[in-house]
């Protein structure tokens, strides 16, 4: 029988003072005792609505019951059958707005810690001996997947399981997309990502790095010269937005993409052992308040910044970052400047950043996004002295593939338009999913899109 306890079993975390100076993972994960203790809280509802909140529809109560019964291999099998990237999603999904928000427990108490449990099962699986080698692709038709971020990885994994030969084309020198270049190791260690990618390779998925479809080869060549029968486009939303304010090209101003890519993908965190240099700054202002902004400001602290601050033109309530990331940032000493709008980056005579000129804002009427519109307060300008400014104000899909391919339709925002049921683009047998279709969103939405596109591709190819 479920045991009613009001609170979640706490996630063990590394001390905020210590962890703010290194790149080791913050959350330490449950042990078996904690996991079983937490699993007992699941009410085993008749109508497990938590599943409706999950973009890949994990049978959540089933795997949790297996944990409660101490049957970890069943838990792992149930989880992996539904979600090909559980160790990643268990770490980076915003469960509080998806599965956990729907949990019946949350009506009176705290919801079951579904995310922590998912991560526990995936981590348990990771230290078990690998079983027999899975059956290798047995179907004759080949599928090309463009991009190795969450959408592409999941799509490739699903197709491989269904027997298709899949090749992923990745433009960078390492696979993983935003999981590799964007999300820092203190949230998602590379060993976890490498392990998940290793499992895909075991399924027979091939990964061709250093190939930019649209530059190195065209999408048409995939069909015409390379004999692929279908293509999945999972190219993400990798183009950084800039504000267009004066001083944005001063030395010491970065996009969050550049800041994080230098440190994560290029390993500047191991500088000087790694060759890519990084000047993260001593007083770092990060503009924006999404998950990427939190990752960036926390990374800045770990790179040796004395002060890291978030500058956001709206208030705490409109912030898009996950609650957990926000709390972790607060614990680590990040300063938050709410209702603060940057209007100019100031520099010295050598062109290096010295400060960020801002104005205070107040909240006005709701805008198109349903959030209160920030309105400037007159004569409220002030300067925050900083030596580094990072823009984390969103990204848009990279137009590179669309520009070099005829017949791929996009909407005004540059997102690929797809059939809602099949994920097929305006071109036959070219499918798409993830941020390339939705604009910048979450890892799990991309994973879900990759999964449903894989099903549609399978149906199309085997019809």
């Amino acid at each position: 029988m479920p045991i009613k306890r009001a609170d979640k079993t706490p996630m063990p975390e590394r001390d905020s003072v210590v962890r703010a100076h290194d790149f080791l993972e913050v959350n330490q994960g449950y042990n078996l005792a904690r996991a079983m203790f937490e699993a007992e809280r699941c009410l085993r509802c008749q109508d497990p609505v938590c599943i409706d909140g999950c973009p890949v529809r994990i049978p959540i109560p089933d795997f949790i019951h297996a944990i409660a019964a101490g049957d970890m291999s069943s838990a792992a099998a149930i989880l992996r059958a539904a979600n090909p990237l559980p160790a990643i999603c268990g770490r980076v999904c915003p469960q509080e707005t998806q599965c956990e928000v729907l949990c019946h427990m949350s009506k009176r108490f705290r919801p079951v810690a579904i995310g922590h449990l998912e991560r526990f099962v995936a981590d348990w699986e990771r230290v078990q001996p690998l079983g027999e080698a899975p059956r290798q692709p047995w179907r004759s038709q080949r599928v090309a997947v463009i991009g190795s971020g969450p959408a592409g990885l999941v799509c490739a994994g699903e197709l491989a399981r269904l027997g298709h030969s899949v090749t992923i084309f990745e433009g960078l020198h390492a696979a993983g997309g935003v999981l590799r270049y964007g999300i820092p190791e203190f949230r998602l260690p590379n060993t976890v990502l490498d392990w998940e990618i290793g499992l895909l390779k075991r399924l027979g998925v091939e990964i061709a790095c250093n190939v930019i479809v649209g530059k190195t080869i065209t999408l048409d060549a995939l069909f015409d010269n390379m004999d692929f029968s279908a293509v999945f486009v999972g190219t993400g939303a990798g183009l950084p937005n800039f504000l267009g304010i004066p001083g944005e090209n001063l030395n010491g101003v970065y996009s969050a993409n550049e800041f994080l890519t230098r440190i994560n993908l290029m390993q500047a965190l191991r500088s000087p052992e790694a060759d890519t240099p990084m000047k993260a700054g001593k007083r770092v202002a990060v503009i924006g308040a999404g998950n990427t902004a939190m990752d960036t400001v926390r990374t800045a602290l770990r790179m040796g910044a004395d002060e890291g601050l978030i500058v956001y033109r709206r208030s705490e309530n409109e912030m898009t970052a996950r609650v957990e990331e926000y709390h972790h940032a607060l614990e680590e000493g990040v300063d938050f400047q709410w209702l603060t709008n940057p209007i100019e980056v100031l520099g010295d005579e050598h062109g290096w950043v010295t400060g960020l000129k801002c104005q205070r804002m107040k909240l006005g009427e709701s805008d198109d996004s349903g959030r209160a519109r920030p309105v400037p307060i007159e004569r409220s300008e002030f300067v925050i002295p900083v030596d580094s400014v990072v823009l984390s104000i969103g990204t848009t899909p990279n137009p590179l593939l669309v520009k070099s391919t005829s017949g791929l339709e996009t909407n005004k925002k540059g997102c690929l338009t797809v059939d809602e049921d099949t994920s097929q683009t305006s071109r036959r047998r070219v499918y798409a999913g993830g941020d390339a279709v939705t604009g910048a969103a979450t890892v799990i939405l991309a994973a879900g899109a990759g999964k449903s596109a894989a099903a549609a591709i399978h149906e199309d190819l085997t019809a």
């Binding site: 530059k215 190195t216 996009s255 230098r262 790694a274």
Partner: protein
């Protein structure tokens, strides 16, 4: 991995590599570049595709050893492999139509003129190449460049061969003489490209320069390669590398390129020390 088919030492610090890269060779158009990474933990650097042979599936790159990564690359031998090679990147140069085209190459930038000028000459344009270096033995690819244009002008600081003086001074003579250029392409160090821009601005001769700012991914993802052109921010990796020389904000470009100067110098010292230790 891309295998090095042939290596030539052009000067003690300038190396030419012919590299097996069939997909890149097939897709390349004049003016594009590649990004290479030479070793684990290594950085990504852009290099112009100097020439390509589609039939053989080979591209030619030329590297000048100025920092840690270029020295690692320069140390590779024929038969060895370049860890990561990706491209072709950037937009192809829209080759100017009609008239007298002058390509100006400074230092190892001369190599980048090889294919560009070849295409223009093939198309029937009148072509002149001006290359310069401190002294004769630092001029590179003289015979190869001579073969792809109508007129090759050599410049040396010490007058050991050709015109004694800077490439811009030779260009100025050309502008004032009967063979006035209708269009100029300049590839080389930022200071030289800027000087070319200043020279042709007064004469109102359309001029394109190939910008090579710091860059990571080469696909528009990091925005590190921002260049201001006519007051507008461009990404050199996707909008360039060629821009209207008279509209480029060179002050900013020079400053941004020096962003990691200290780190680069420290890294070079460490590398030199390590090499000395290894030699003992």
């Amino acid at each position: 991995m891309a295998k090095i088919i042939e290596k030539r030492t052009l000067t003690p610090v300038t190396k030419l590599f012919r590299v097996e890269a069939p997909l890149i060779a097939a897709a390349t158009r004049p003016g594009q570049f590649v990004i290479v990474r030479v070793r684990e933990g290594g950085e990504r650097i852009p290099l112009t595709i100097a020439d390509y042979d589609r039939a053989a599936g080979v591209i030619t790159i030329v590297v000048q050893e100025v920092g840690v990564t270029t020295r690692h690359l320069g140390a590779l031998a024929a038969g060895q492999e370049i860890l990561d090679l990706v491209g072709p990147l950037g937009a192809a140069l829209e080759l100017p139509v009609g008239g007298h085209v002058v390509g100006v190459g400074g230092g190892f930038g001369a190599a980048a003129l090889l294919r560009l000028m070849h295409e223009l000459t093939e198309r029937g344009e009148r072509t002149t190449i001006i290359i310069g270096a401190r002294q004769q033995d630092l001029l590179i690819l003289v015979d190869e460049l001579d073969a792809v244009c109508h007129q090759l002008e050599l410049c040396t600081d010490d007058g050991s061969v050709g015109f004694k003086g800077l490439v811009t001074e030779r260009l100025q003579l050309l502008i004032e003489g009967p063979g006035r250029p209708d269009c100029v392409l300049a590839i080389g160090p930022m200071s030289m490209m800027r000087a070319v821009a200043d020279t042709t601005r007064a004469a109102r001769i359309p001029t394109q320069v190939s910008m090579d700012p710091l860059m990571i991914d080469g696909t528009g993802m990091c925005g590190g390669c921002r260049v201001t052109v006519d007051g507008e921010v461009k990404f050199a990796c996707v909008d360039g590398p060629f821009f209207d020389a008279h509209l480029v904000d060179f002050d900013e470009a020079v400053r941004r390129k020096q962003m990691y100067l200290e780190e680069e110098q420290r890294a070079a010292c460490r590398q030199a020390e390590r090499r000395q230790t290894d030699a003992h």
